[in-house]
């Protein structure tokens, strides 16, 4: 773009034509094509999906690499920085709404569908069903039609609580890293970032272990009626966000190690941190609503 204002930083940096967007779209085309075929039992779909994912990741790496390069080259004025802040904030808001859909499903199941399936009028259809939550309690069949095998629910002890601790701690370590960056103590920042990434990774492992435990010992599955559906959808969708957030933090750590960011200017870092805190907050909601209530 034109460098009409003083200095090298343009008033508002507008990137030159770029092939990244269209290349990413091509990758995503294979993703949706492959995923759509794969779930319908076509083996080649899995390959198309994998190919699309690899392609997308590869292109995104280039894209983000280029964007990071622009930031480091001082192309981004304060105004662009503000744009980044607004956009990250509203992106997180859209994620909140995405979660809201699944929390809404849980709310509906607990307050509306399960009670009314077990209500007096509905006894006409499901005479033996008791509308209690969790739908595996004593005397309940787990599902009105009895199609669900008996299962146990997942309590807050011990893994989810450990996970809560992990995530809360990671929020603290991330903040320490951030303060270190602001204080221009780069080595310290990098160290705390690695700890944060590690905490995120351990969280994911714990969750993986929890799922394995749920499947093998509690017989709690995706197919365990509405309880299993909401449990796995909420925790799984959250877990996916932790995964993405961990990768973001990892990238930021690597960028820190490459000498990116300045104590004054590091929105890439901050954006990832916002995202991480958001994931944290959602977890607290999950922890209380899914595991305790």
């Amino acid at each position: 773009m034109s460098a009409t204002t003083k200095g090298v930083t343009p008033y508002y940096y507008v990137p030159a034509p770029s092939r990244h967007p269209v290349m990413t779209s091509i990758g995503l085309f294979f993703v949706i094509l492959g995923a759509g075929q794969w779930v319908n039992g076509h083996g080649w779909g899995a390959y198309a999906l994998l190919f699309g994912l690899l392609w997308t990741v590869f292109v995104l790496r280039q894209w983000f690499g280029e964007a990071a390069g622009e930031a480091e080259a001082g192309m981004l004025s304060d105004r662009v920085d503000v744009s980044h802040r607004w956009s990250m904030a509203w992106f997180i808001f859209s994620e909140v709404m995405f979660f809201a859909a699944f929390f809404g499903a849980l709310y509906w199941a607990r307050t509306q569908s399960v009670p009314s399936l077990g209500s007096l009028e509905n006894a006409l259809l499901w005479p033996d069903f008791k509308g209690i939550w969790p739908s595996s309690g004593a005397g309940a069949t787990g599902s009105p039609a009895g199609i669900v095998e008996p299962f146990q629910t997942m309590g807050p002890w011990p893994l989810p609580t450990i996970n809560t601790g992990l995530l809360l701690t990671s929020g603290v370590t991330l903040t320490i890293a951030h303060h270190a960056l602001i204080a221009n103590q780069r080595a310290k920042a990098i160290g705390w970032m690695w700890i944060t990434v590690l905490l995120g990774t351990v969280f994911l492992f714990c969750q993986g272990y929890e799922y394995a435990h749920a499947y093998s010992e509690l017989n709690l599955k995706l197919s365990s009626g509405i309880y299993g559906s909401t449990f796995y959808m909420l925790t799984g969708f959250h877990g996916f966000h932790v995964f993405v957030g961990t990768i973001m933090l990892l990238v930021m750590t690597i960028r820190l190690m490459k000498g990116h960011f300045t104590p004054e200017r590091h929105f890439g870092f901050e954006g990832a941190a916002w995202y991480w805190h958001f994931v944290d907050v959602v977890w607290l909601g999950l922890y209380f609503i899914v595991y305790w209530m």
């Binding site: 204002t5 508002y12 770029s18 949706i32 859909a101 809404g104 509306q112 399936l117 669900v148 995706l222």
Partner: protein, 546 residues
């Protein structure tokens, strides 16, 4: 040809601030495929939307062809349902929404004095994401079992019975949702952060305001739709029971989640239309927009209310009494801010000095016909009446009045109004007027009789119907063909000549009393505008210094 297609061809007005140190846009296909220029991306959006309008329109004509007479003549009922579903999906997600994003891309930076959209590359990404999605949607006709046939609302559990195309459709909608969210974030940030100094929020053109609010609606509800169809996907393939009562789920939950998205969605499709009309009426009445502030508040009220009315689509699902009453009252309330808008437009016209060039014709036509659609909406919002009308052709009539005569008419108005700015070429008034009158008449021939059909009890999504409904259906089908032909005429005799640069050269400001920064740059708008913020006068409608 115009600058739209040839970026090098800057106009040479005195205020052309193009300097030699500009990048000149690349030529050839790269210019479009790799575009980061908001005007180019806007053009891409509009062309895409128009293509989808044609595809959706051909599907509509196939529907009308089958319904031309009772009995099955051309398609089997399964295929008919696919037509209906894909017509709805393509029109809503492929035609109307992208077209408005196209308008936003072209006009918002011009209107607020910004150099481009806040995130130019992401802007291109939003556009190119729609292509795989559109390919998947259209390709689903050729998948085993055909396209999804569960209605555009994709109600569970019917969606659970659909073939593989349903998954293609779900993933396509995910991608479209991502595109919309990114596009909206881009728009919000552009508006909040890139206004030229002096362009305070309450001085922004109405179109910008309506899009700001629309973008918020999109950010809030597109993810909810994604959630709904994700649950459909897992119910279909991963054994979950969200919508399966046998496992404790509830098909009605789908409807709640869907309409929590769906109702704001219909305002997403109308608010930018309100914005366009609010620009045009003052320009041709030669009088400032009446009640600017109340227009802004009314738009915001509509948006906020739109979150608490969704269950008016569900009166017949058997809600509790209190639910039915609540949603009835809340829905009716939306008439109040909408009414404010209508009154303000008329007050703007009142004691103006009006001329009726094509954009104004469309805008006035919009007010008239949209209001009729609004009133049928109000009638539908009365639960006792809706019990009779729900899922009948009355609803079909209602929403085509607000969507076709509302959104689409406003878009035509916008194309005629800003087209000269985009292409540098004036359209032909005669052709524009013919397009307007022809469309207005055939539109009413098509959709007015549907009110009668619905009141007499003809359900929608029917491939065949009792003989008593034959005549009105026939009239509607004839009208639909006429309406379709008018749009082909529009494309061939208005759009194509403009794009090819045939016609009188457009002045910088073709409309005597039009206000706004877009008229401060030459026609066609140069490839780059407002790269550094202009200095504005106190009304923020004139540039004092580039």
């Amino acid at each position: 040809m115009s600058a739209v297609l040839h970026p090098g061809g800057h106009g040479h007005g005195h205020d052309d601030h193009a300097h030699d140190d500009h990048h000149h846009a690349p030529h050839g296909w790269r210019r479009w495929v790799f575009a980061t220029n908001h005007k180019d991306i806007g053009t891409l959006y509009m062309l895409f939307a128009f293509t989808m309008l044609m595809i959706g329109g051909v599907l509509a004509l196939l529907i009308r062809l089958e319904l031309f007479q009772p009995g099955l003549q051309f398609v089997n009922p399964e295929l008919f349902n696919q037509f209906t579903t894909m017509h709805g999906l393509i029109m809503v997600f492929g035609a109307i929404m992208p077209a408005f994003v196209g308008f936003a891309n072209w006009m918002i930076p011009l209107q607020i004095g910004a150099g481009d959209m806040a995130f130019a590359r992401m802007n291109n990404f939003s556009f190119w994401l729609m292509i795989p999605a559109a390919i998947m949607l259209v390709a689903s006709f050729f998948m085993p079992g055909g396209a999804p046939a569960a209605g555009w609302t994709l109600y569970a559990p019917l969606t659970l019975q659909m073939g593989p195309s349903m998954d293609a459709g779900i993933f396509a909608m995910h991608i479209l949702g991502a595109s919309s969210i990114m596009g909206s974030i881009n728009i919000v940030v552009t508006i909040l952060n890139m206004r030229a100094p002096g362009m305070t929020l309450m001085k922004m053109p109405m179109f910008v305001w309506t899009w700001l609010i629309t973008a918020y609606l999109l950010i809030a509800v597109m993810p909810v739709l994604a959630g709904a169809i994700t649950m459909t996907l897992t119910d279909r393939h991963f054994g979950t029971s969200f919508f399966n009562p046998a496992g404790g789920g509830d098909p009605i939950m789908y409807q709640h989640v869907f309409w929590f998205f769906g109702h704001p969605e219909v305002y997403i499709m109308i608010l930018p239309a309100f914005g366009i009309v609010s620009q045009i009426i003052p320009a041709f009445a030669r009088k400032r927009l009446f009640g600017y502030a109340s227009m802004v508040y009314a738009t915001a009220s509509i948006a906020i209310l739109s979150f608490i009315v969704w269950a008016h689509h569900m009166y017949t699902t058997g809600m509790p009494l209190t639910g039915q009453l609540f949603f009835m009252y809340a829905t009716m309330l939306i008439s109040v801010p909408t009414g404010v808008k209508v009154f303000n437009w008329i007050a703007t016209m009142w004691r103006g000095s009006m001329t009726f060039e094509t954009p104004m014709l469309w805008a006035v036509g919009f007010i008239f016909v949209f209001t009729m659609g609004g009133f049928t909406g109000l009638i539908l919002s009365m639960a006792p009446i809706d019990i009779n009308l729900q899922d009948t052709y009355y609803v079909v009539a209602h929403f085509h009045y607000v969507l076709v005569a509302g959104s689409l008419f406003a878009m035509f108005a916008g194309v005629y109004y800003w087209g000269p700015k985009w292409t540098g070429v004036m359209y032909s008034e005669g052709r524009g007027k013919f397009h307007f009158w022809g469309s207005l008449v055939t539109f009413n021939i098509t959709f007015f009789p549907m009110h009668f059909l619905g009141m007499a009890g003809m359900p929608r999504r029917y491939a065949d119907y009792p003989l008593q409904f034959a005549d009105f259906n026939m009239i509607a089908s004839i009208g639909a063909l006429g309406f379709g032909l008018m749009q082909v005429y529009f494309f061939l005799f208005v759009v194509v000549p403009m794009m090819r640069g045939k016609g009188a050269k457009a002045p910088q400001k073709p409309w005597e009393a039009a206000e706004g920064l877009e008229w401060e740059v030459p026609s066609p708008a140069p490839f780059h505008t407002f790269e550094t913020p202009p200095t504005l006068d106190v009304t923020a409608t004139k540039v004092l210094k580039f």
